[in-house]
Amino acid sequence: MLALIRVGQDAYGVRIAREIRERTGREIPLASVYAGLTRLEKRGLVASRIGEPTPERGGRAKIYFLITAKGVRAAREAHFALKELSSGIPQLEGAKA
C-alpha cells in the first residue's frame, strides 16, 4: 500500500514491484503483488482501472491501481500503530544508531 502511494497515479504491477525492490532491496514476484492488491481491492482499500493494450506487452492491457480514501486512512493508522509499538524499544534504537 505504501509503494502504491509512492508511485501515485500510474501505479501498475511492474512499477509497484520496482518501487518495492528499489526501496527495500527485496525482489517481490509480480503474482504476489497482484494477489496482495486484489485482496486490498476486495476490502475497498484500493481501486483499479484497465488501461489500453500496448504492443510491447503482447497486446495486453495494464491494470492501474489507485489507493482509495479508506486505504489512505488504513495506511495512516497502520503507520501510527507501528510507530507507537516501536518507540522506546532500546534494541531498535541501538540498531538505528
Binding site: Y12, G13, V14, A17, P29, L30, A31, S32, Y34, A35, T38, E41, G44, V46, A47, S48, R49, I50, G51, E52, P53, T54, E56, R57, G58, R60, A61, K62, I63, T68, K70
Partner: protein, 210 residues
C-alpha cells in the same frame, strides 16, 4: 536471434487465464522480461504466477473447481470403460485373424494396457480445460491434485502392505504403479495445456473499484 520472453514462455502465459488481472500480469511479465533479457526470470515469474493464480482461482470459485474435478473423474472412468470394452470386443477377432506371433500379440497388449490409461488421462485433462476455458490452468491443477491425492492413498496402501508382508512382488507393483502415476500426471497436464485459450475482446472495458 533470441527473443525475450521466449515463445515457450509466451505459450504458457497464454494459459494463465483470460481474466483481466491474469492478462495484465502476463503483460507485466512480458514487459519486465524483455527489459531484463532473462528467460530464467520469465519462467520463474510464470511458474509463480500459475501457482498463486490457480490457488486464488480455486479458492474464489470452489463450486466450479468441484465440478471440474467431478467432470475429470467422470471422463476418466468413461475413457477407461470405452478402451477396455473395445479391447474385450476386439480381442477374439484379433486372435482369430491372421497369424500374429503370440510374443508380438503379448507385447502389443502390454503396450496398449500402459498407453491407453495415459491417453485417458490426457483426454480427461483436455476435457477439463476445454469446459473451463476462462480458468483452464487452475481447473486442470484442481483435477491434477485430486488424482495426486487418490494415487498417494494407493501408494501409501501398497507401501504399507509391502512392508507388512515383506513382499517383493508388492514392492515391484508399487514401483510400477508410481512410475505409471507420474506418466499419468504429466499426460493430464499435457492434455490440459493443449487446449487453446479464448481470445479476449479487443475493446478494453473500464472498471473502477471504489
Amino acid at each position: 536471434m533470441r527473443t525475450f520472453p521466449s515463445s515457450r514462455v509466451l505459450w504458457f502465459l497464454k494459459r494463465l487465464g483470460s481474466g483481466p488481472k491474469n492478462r495484465a500480469l502476463a503483460g507485466d511479465i512480458i514487459e519486465e522480461g524483455s527489459q531484463r533479457r532473462s528467460n530464467f526470470w520469465c519462467w520463474q515469474q510464470t511458474l509463480h504466477a500459475s501457482a498463486v493464480g490457480s490457488f486464488e482461482e480455486i479458492r474464489s470459485h470452489k463450486l466450479v473447481a468441484i465440478l471440474a474435478v467431478l467432470t475429470g473423474w467422470a471422463s476418466l472412468i468413461a475413457c477407461y470403460s470405452l478402451f477396455y470394452a473395445t479391447r474385450d470386443f476386439m480381442s477374439p477377432f484379433l486372435r482369430l485373424s491372421s497369424g500374429i506371433p503370440p510374443a508380438l500379440a503379448l507385447t502389443m497388449g502390454w503396450v496398449c494396457s500402459k498407453t491407453l490409461p495415459i491417453f485417458s488421462f490426457a483426454m480427461s485433462g483436455w476435457l477439463v480445460a476445454k469446459l473451463n476455458r476462462h480458468s483452464q490452468l487452475a481447473m486442470v491443477i484442481a483435477f491434477l491434485f485430486s488424482v495426486f491425492f487418490v494415487d498417494s492413498l494407493i501408494v501409501g496402501l501398497l507401501a504399507f502392505t509391502a512392508i507388512s508382508i515383506q513382499s517383493a512382488f508388492v514392492m515391484n507393483g508399487l514401483a510400477i504403479f508410481s512410475l505409471t502415476a507420474i506418466c499419468e500426471w504429466l499426460a493430464l497436464l499435457f492434455g490440459g495445456l493443449m487446449t487453446e485459450p479464448p481470445e479476449p475482446a479487443c475493446v478494453p472495458t473500464v472498471r473502477v473499484g471504489d
